[in-house]
């Protein structure tokens, strides 16, 4: 039922009607509130509310004829701050308003926005106090005075991803080794790898020199012979 989604902590609920069913707006809102057993009074925003109640604003396109935008916003804010008001419901038809800024500005002020997109589809955007925003799509039949709504679950079109078989990708093996291959892999000494200190060779630097056949130790011509050092 649509009332379960709408009635709650949302102080200002805005109905944005893209279809053009404004003349049924009061009836629709009346149905919804009656279903939830809630009292309401119709207000044009300028009268102070003295007892605990919900307020249905006159259709915004009609308010627009009487007040300017600034006054509409101010009046709505005053209703919002009024502790006697539990919830405010407003209806705005996009094809009936003249001002370009009314709909986006009112959407900014509202905590819950019901956008009636077509004769059978609507969406509900709810802003929580912590700043999280949720958008859900529903099927509706508000035109036929039915207040049941059914959620449309948007299925993400997931094309079948062919499971990439890792083994067959390339010309070398990535996974799946035999035990011997694993052992060989682990023992392979990589070029710049840090060698563990346990296995480290002795710290002295040794120069290992194996002379070729052609190399000869030439005793006579050794120029360092006469140097006296040990």
């Amino acid at each position: 039922m649509i009332s379960t989604q709408i009635i709650g902590n949302y102080k200002f609920v805005l109905f944005v009607d893209d279809v053009g069913i404004e003349r049924n707006s009061v009836k629709i809102l009346d149905n919804i509130l009656r279903e939830a057993n809630l009292l309401y009074e119709i207000n044009d925003g300028s009268v102070t509310v003295l007892k605990q109640t919900n307020v249905i604003l006159e259709a915004i396109s009609r308010l627009e004829l009487e007040y300017n935008e600034k006054d509409i916003f101010t009046n709505i804010q005053k209703l919002k701050l009024n502790e006697n008001v539990s919830q405010i419901f407003a209806w705005i038809s996009s094809n009936n308003v003249h001002s370009k800024i009314l709909i986006p500005f009112l959407e900014h002020m509202s905590e819950l926005i019901v956008t009636i997109k077509s004769n059978n589809q609507l969406s509900i955007l709810s802003k929580s106090k912590s700043g999280n925003v949720k958008l859900k799509e529903y099927h509706h039949e508000l035109m036929n005075n039915k207040t049941m709504i059914k959620e449309i679950k948007i299925e993400k079109v997931q094309e079948q991803k062919e499971d990439v078989n890792v083994d067959n990708i390339g010309t070398f093996k990535i996974g799946q080794f035999t035990a011997e291959e694993l052992e060989a892999k682990r023992n392979l000494k990589l070029p710049f790898e840090k060698i563990n200190s346990i296995n480290q060779e002795k710290k002295e630097a040794k120069i290992i020199y194996t002379p070729d056949n052609v190399d000869d130790f030439d005793e006579e011509d050794d120029p360092d012979n006469d140097l006296q050092f040990i």
Binding site: F105, H108, G131, I169
Partner: protein
């Protein structure tokens, strides 16, 4: 006996919470370490900073609270104006500072199971969070709040709320300027002005809104320049765009620093899979440079922000590695899908 006379900087007054930096003269912290780093240390004294709000205002709210927390912590005079929400209520929710922690940055070296060259083994993991090397600034923990009466007892704060505006009945902009002038008449050490959500429906004054706003910003700028004031404004730019497309450019000329937030909501359009780890993007539109010819140039311009439970972090935008060939339905960068050679799955070397 030399006749050398040392020149003293007489106008360099030491104010708590204000640092002197080489480039920016005197800077004030924003409350968030990352944000300070991007701005080159913090907000410049005598400057106006404009934050373009994200669509539902969640993250700009947090930045505002951090700014207020820093002002409160350093005992600065605060002027907080907000028509949309009750400023007193917001003030009660400001975060407390973290207890002073020594440099506990854990350097995660790459784990020893990985066999890599010795040169790279001891390097710390790449940390793309934007932060300075000195950890001297105070950071705030978003989960910790002050007790109610601590803030109520704070005297050096002036509020301007919707109710106040209704009582006075005059133009919003005029009353704010008047308030600021009277607050400054008491000569506070440092006044931090925070005005939230200018341009939201309640600020709308009708047809003259654009010119009123420009006049207001000009007056604010002159007040800010000639007194010890730091201004922090936030505006829902997507709404201002609807009033007048050219207005945002005029506004940008008048403020000193403009940074826009763009949050990912996953509602209107499917968030690019690439941005999974971030909460939104940060766009630097204008950088302050009051005391120098050149503005601070941040290390990277592709910045993204992330809100952790207790901190607000700004990071250099990293694209995750492209490991698998993605179908074109999953939105990926167009150049990579071309480069993967569409369809040919075997890696041939």
């Amino acid at each position: 006996m030399s006749s050398f006379v040392k020149i003293k900087k007489e106008n360099n007054v030491e104010i708590a919470g204000v640092k002197t930096s080489i480039r920016n003269w005197q800077i004030v912290s924003t409350g968030s370490e990352s944000f300070n780093f991007i701005l080159g240390g913090g907000l410049e004294l005598n400057s106006i900073t404009l934050i373009g709000e994200d669509k539902y205002g969640k993250y700009s709210d947090i930045l505002t609270k951090l700014f207020l927390a820093d002002s409160f912590h350093h005992n600065h005079h605060i002027y907080f104006a907000s028509l949309d929400n009750d400023p007193k209520k917001i003030m009660k929710e400001i975060p407390m500072p973290n207890e002073y922690q020594k440099d506990t940055k854990t350097e995660e070296t790459i784990s020893n199971d990985l066999r890599i060259a010795f040169r790279y083994q001891d390097l710390p993991k790449i940390d793309s969070v934007q932060r300075g090397s000195s950890q001297n600034s105070v950071t705030y923990d978003l989960t910790k709040k002050y007790e109610k009466d601590v803030i109520e007892r704070y005297e050096k704060i002036n509020y301007y709320s919707f109710n106040e505006q209704q009582q006075r009945g005059e133009n919003v902009f005029d009353s704010i300027i008047r308030d600021l002038q009277s607050t400054l008449a008491q000569k506070p050490e440092l006044l931090r002005v925070c005005i939230s959500s200018i341009g939201s429906p309640l600020w709308f004054t009708g047809e003259s809104f654009s010119s009123d706003l420009i006049t207001f910003l000009t007056q604010l700028k002159s007040i800010t320049r000639y007194n010890n004031v730091v201004c922090y404004l936030t505006m829902p730019l997507h709404l201002i765009n609807l009033i007048d497309e050219q207005l945002i450019f005029k506004i940008r000329r008048l403020v000193d620093c403009n940074i826009n937030l763009e949050s990912f909501n996953n509602i209107e359009k499917q968030t690019n899979a690439v941005f999974k780890q971030y909460h939104g993007l940060l766009h630097i539109k204008k950088m302050h440079s009051i005391a120098a010819l050149q503005s601070h140039k941040p290390e990277a311009f592709d910045l993204a922000f992330k809100l952790k439970s207790n901190r607000f972090l700004i990071e250099k935008l990293h694209l995750p590695p492209e490991l698998q060939e993605n179908d074109s339905s999953e939105i990926s960068m167009s150049c990579s899908s071309i480069a993967s050679g569409g369809g040919n799955k075997s890696l041939d070397f």
